[in-house]
């Protein structure tokens, strides 16, 4: 385990990926800009993502750079698409993600 991994774990800065296909992770604690978050896949694989925005507990952030109209994947399924491009480590919510289902 790397120094950063150990430091992230000790500070409880962790997030969960629900499916290997996902391009978002869910914060398991409040995270702030500049935090290095340890992201755990179900398979046990772990890696770090540096956050470029504050991510409240339970909210999602991007695991890769996302393009406008790119599908946002959670549970291995599409939950919406991006209104605009977003950098890796950015916050994804209703302000920058659209989903027509259930809105009209």
């Amino acid at each position: 385990m790397s120094e950063i991994e150990l430091a992230s774990l000790a500070a409880g800065k962790t997030a969960l990926i629900l499916d290997q296909k996902d391009n978002v992770a869910v914060a398991l604690t409040d995270l702030v800009t500049g935090d290095t978050c340890l992201v755990a896949e179900d398979s046990g694989k772990k890696y770090e993502v540096v956050l470029v925005e504050d991510i409240p507990f339970g909210h999602k952030f991007a695991l890769t750079n996302l393009e406008q109209d790119e599908a946002v994947l959670k549970y291995g399924e599409e939950i919406g698409r991006m209104k605009r491009a977003l950098k890796k480590g950015g916050w994804i919510h209703s302000h920058n993600m659209y989903c027509d289902r259930g809105m009209k």
């Binding site: 869910v26 339970g58 999602k60 959670k74 919406g80 989903c99 289902r101 259930g102 809105m103 009209k104």
Partner: protein, 389 residues
């Protein structure tokens, strides 16, 4: 025999997990009399509602079937039907629907009694006698195949879909694997996942039923929300859901369907009806907490399991509601209302599998007589019959 619980076996073979008297008004006009009768007899619960008259067609039919279903629920050893005397859904119809169960049954009509005070007196005497008779019955060992649980979540946040629902899904699968039943409802909150649910149908007919009922619910909602004056009221996802981190109804739906585990769906059935098959079932109904629990109790569910991320204290008369939160902060604040802390998965203390087993064991304990926190505190606000537009 696999796992067992201790329940009350009824005349018709069904097994109740409680031994209570239900006081059921056939119409809103007799609601207060029903409530007063229940207040006189510890061990009696009332089902006051605002309908039963001035309704037509499917709307009245659903009210009628639901009230009959509640009366038939095996958690009640006896039922006192309370009518006014001139309502569209007559108290006689209600009593006739319950009678085949063979349970203790009496009917009080306010207009026949003379006034509400006399009706309360007559109803109280009936309930007193029933309660004493019921007290003679003892719990017997019954197989898990006799259990039917309802699945219902409310006040969802991101931990519901992340932890509480998947853990409940594990418990649900254990009950279904032993021949018991589990009911998923909340069609409004399954929108966007119908193709995934249909893949889990036991056959093509059930798959088509799943697609049909969820699409019909989405169409109904689109019609209803078209002319809403408030932009936020057009959404199928609440402000609290957004605050918790859920960004779309599809994201919420995927988390919602997780509480039905991985078992195959064997039947889709209508609101007010009881299912014909045992196993994982889909009840065609909307997402309102009370309407869901009411439909599940009317279908015969003896227990409802209720994940709640943000936390709600609500319960149901005579049917234990087991509260599960996946949010460790919510449990810390609301542990007086919430039975199970699945937030231990978030904090890394337990695995999802261990949590699923804990929920399953709690279901068996509650089925054998352990009171849920909502029961101890007298929460009964979830009785609410769905309406057809």
């Amino acid at each position: 025999m696999g796992d067992t619980f201790w329940g009350f076996r009824r005349e018709n073979g069904a097994v109740g997990v409680r031994n209570l008297i239900a006081i059921i008004p056939s119409v809103f006009c007799s609601a207060k009399v029903a409530q007063r009768i229940a207040q006189n007899i510890p061990g009696a619960v009332h089902f006051s509602h605002p309908v039963g008259c001035s309704q037509v067609g499917d709307d009245l039919e659903i009210t009628a079937k639901t009230l009959i279903g509640i009366g038939r629920n095996p958690n009640f050893s006896g039922v006192v039907v309370v009518g006014l005397g001139c309502e569209r859904f007559t108290p006689y119809e209600l009593a006739q629907g319950i009678a085949p169960t063979g349970k203790l049954l009496e009917t009080v009509i306010i207009q026949d009694e003379g006034d509400s005070i006399k009706a309360i007196e007559t109803g109280t005497r009936y309930a007193r006698k029933m309660q004493q008779q019921a007290s003679l019955q003892r719990r017997e060992e019954a197989a898990v195949s006799e259990l039917m649980i309802g699945l219902n979540c409310g006040g969802s946040d991101t931990t519901s879909g992340l932890v509480a629902n998947p853990a409940l899904g594990i418990a649900s699968d254990k009950i279904v694997a032993q021949g018991g039943s589990s009911i998923l409802t909340e069609l409004t909150e399954l929108i966007g996942t119908e193709h995934i649910l249909a893949r889990r149908a036991v056959n093509e007919e059930v798959a088509q039923d799943i697609l049909r009922v969820i699409r019909a619910m989405e169409e109904r909602l689109k019609r209803q929300t078209q002319h809403s004056s408030n932009e936020k009221r057009k959404h199928l996802i609440s402000t609290g859901n957004y605050d918790g981190g859920l960004s779309s109804v599809v994201e919420k739906s995927l988390g919602g369907m997780k509480k039905s585990g991985n078992a195959p769906f064997v039947e889709v059935f209508s609101y007010g009806d009881a299912p014909l098959k045992k196993g994982l079932l889909l009840l065609d109904g909307p997402g309102h907490d009370g309407e869901v629990t009411t439909g599940q109790a009317a279908a015969g569910a003896q227990i409802v399991c209720f994940p709640t991320g943000r936390g709600t204290p609500s319960g149901f008369p005579g049917v234990p509601v087991i509260k599960i939160t996946g949010n460790p902060r919510t449990y810390q604040r609301m542990h007086e209302n919430i039975d199970i802390n699945a937030g231990t998965v978030i904090t890394g203390e337990k695995s999802l599998q261990q949590m699923g087993e804990e929920i399953y064991q709690e279901i068996l304990a509650v089925a054998s007589g352990k009171l849920s926190k909502a029961e101890v505190l007298g929460h009964d606000e979830q009785f609410c019959i769905t309406r057809m537009p």
